[in-house]
Symmetry: C2
């Protein structure tokens, strides 16, 4: 059995090859580009950890992990187009570097490539693996659409936001663990507990993401700090602020969000001041802890030997402490 | 055995259901929208015909045919975004009606949905079917990228253009027939002949498409006549014109393509005048006939009873005569 860090290194080494043909470089180089930007590889490592929780490593786990990481990067390329994001992991996004049309196609071809890896695995469980993968892929698209829908409506409740985030972010983490568990021969009950562990950890992960977008260290964060504020994103922070702020602060927040001519840096500063006055930062850290605890309870309830759960506990620990 | 028209009707009836969940309508209604615009359904019917060429209809042929038609519509949605096309089948394109971001996502979810249908088929041949499907999907993306690359370079040869068109258009027709043949239990040789039949017919289809874009009847064509000319697309017609035109005409064509302020209708008229002077219209019809004959030779060489080939001959006939 490997630790979380060991699995990350093993995966990174296997993954660090070219995943696309060398011909038609105008299409495949942009696809390969985003893979080389690195990233935490949390989701594919979850496949490996989900597998190792139940059995020795199944070689097919690497194929599925690769498919998951390609899927994740496909969604990043397309999300960055939709969000008009200039930076990803401190570097130019694919569409900024290569243009929107090529980025769109590079994303498409990466999604297809993820299915190529899925098609390499044994027939015994390929249908179930594909089914979970497809359901998850659709949920991720639904989450992204809801995220865009929320930009157009004035008020989003915390429940609505949690549902959107669950679809957009958490189900991929949850499904990664479940896919690994399936490859490890886990029963339905354990699959479900592991899925819920991943889902709640994923929500905690997003609380942290929203927190870092507002309060992160620009040198460590990689992305543009305050990006969500500029884009008027209804994040965990903004939704809670709109719930607890004074009438005066609510009016100011609403005005700031409607003001399209304001200097971005000034807008970020003013919103952050209100966030801090409302103790939104403290609330977010507590909310994250709540979801981490639910996640850990599901891991506790998973019927395998305690010492096999260590890498997953390390993952939870890592997600709580990350700064980028 | 069914005729081409009968198979079209059978497929249309089976396909005319909702293919997406009813929840999250902001995502799934745009996806369903393009499916309801109709279309010729040539590719899925090719799956059915490829199957019936060798055996009684395999129920899995309908699943694969549906996957192919969903894949085709996914590529249409994304191509229309890239081409900034306002109309598709005489109606608003998905991105015009619902916005680019939603169209992008609706395309993504449609591609995933195509794999859901592929995942329903029997394990015996699912790996081979997925492999052909994935290779084809990547080729289609490569073709679209080359098409965009060609917009940025001054001169494209006929060979380069045929290669691009083969990838962008023909391989999907070819693979549809091959996928049907695999489901019908065809051997490698017959699969290959059928693939080549489809590939060459697909090229002929594109010659006709380019021809109709310039010389089609606006009332019958569905799309905007002259769209390729306005977009400075290097079509079969334009590439041949640049080869055979006089020096004076070449200069005029180049000037027309570089002139960004010219009235679109005037640009179309002037380009069409040169096309006609160079007899590009006649040349295109002859070129189409050449590819149709190569296609028919491969059908001839396919080792099955002559009377089973009738629907495929009807298809070839239909493609030669279509006006939209």
């Amino acid at each position: 059995m490997y630790t979380f860090i060991e699995l990350s290194k093993i995966f990174e080494q296997k993954f660090g090859v070219r995943h696309f043909p060398v011909h038609t470089p105008t299409l495949y180089d942009p696809a390969q580009y985003i893979l080389q930007l690195g990233g935490k590889r949390i989701r594919p490592v979850c496949v490996l950890m989900g597998n190792e929780l139940f059995d020795e490593m199944n070689p097919d786990a690497y194929e599925v992990a690769t498919a998951i990481e390609l899927f994740h990067n496909f969604s990043l390329i397309h999300d960055d187009i939709m969000d008009k994001a200039p930076l990803r992991r401190g570097m130019e996004t694919v569409h900024t570097k290569y243009g929107e049309s090529t980025a769109l196609l590079a994303g498409d071809v990466m999604l297809v490539q993820s299915y190529e890896y899925l098609n390499k695995i044994k027939r015994d469980y390929s249908q179930k693996i594909m089914q979970v993968f497809n359901e998850t892929a659709k949920a991720v698209c639904e989450g992204q659409q809801l995220d865009m829908d929320f930009e157009k409506i004035t008020s989003v409740s915390l429940d609505q936001y949690v549902n959107m985030i669950t679809l957009k972010t958490s189900v991929l983490l949850a499904a990664s663990l479940q896919l690994g568990a399936i490859l490890g021969g886990a029963g339905q009950g354990n699959q479900q507990h592991l899925y819920e562990f991943g889902k709640n950890l994923g929500i905690a992960f997003q609380v942290q993401d929203d927190f870092l977008d507002a309060f992160g260290d620009p040198d460590k964060f990689g992305k543009q700090v305050g990006g969500d504020i500029i884009a008027n994103k209804k994040t965990f922070l903004m939704i809670h602020a709109m719930e607890v702020a004074s009438v005066q602060q609510k009016i100011e927040l609403a005005n700031l969000m409607q003001n399209s001519t304001i200097d971005p840096a000034e807008k970020i500063n003013k919103v952050l001041t209100i966030f801090k006055d409302c103790k939104v930062d403290e609330w977010a850290l507590e909310l994250k802890e709540k979801y981490v605890q639910i996640a850990l309870q599901h891991l506790d309830d998973t019927a395998v030997l305690l010492n096999r759960k260590k890498p997953l506990m390390e993952l939870a620990e890592y997600l709580i402490q990350r700064e980028s």
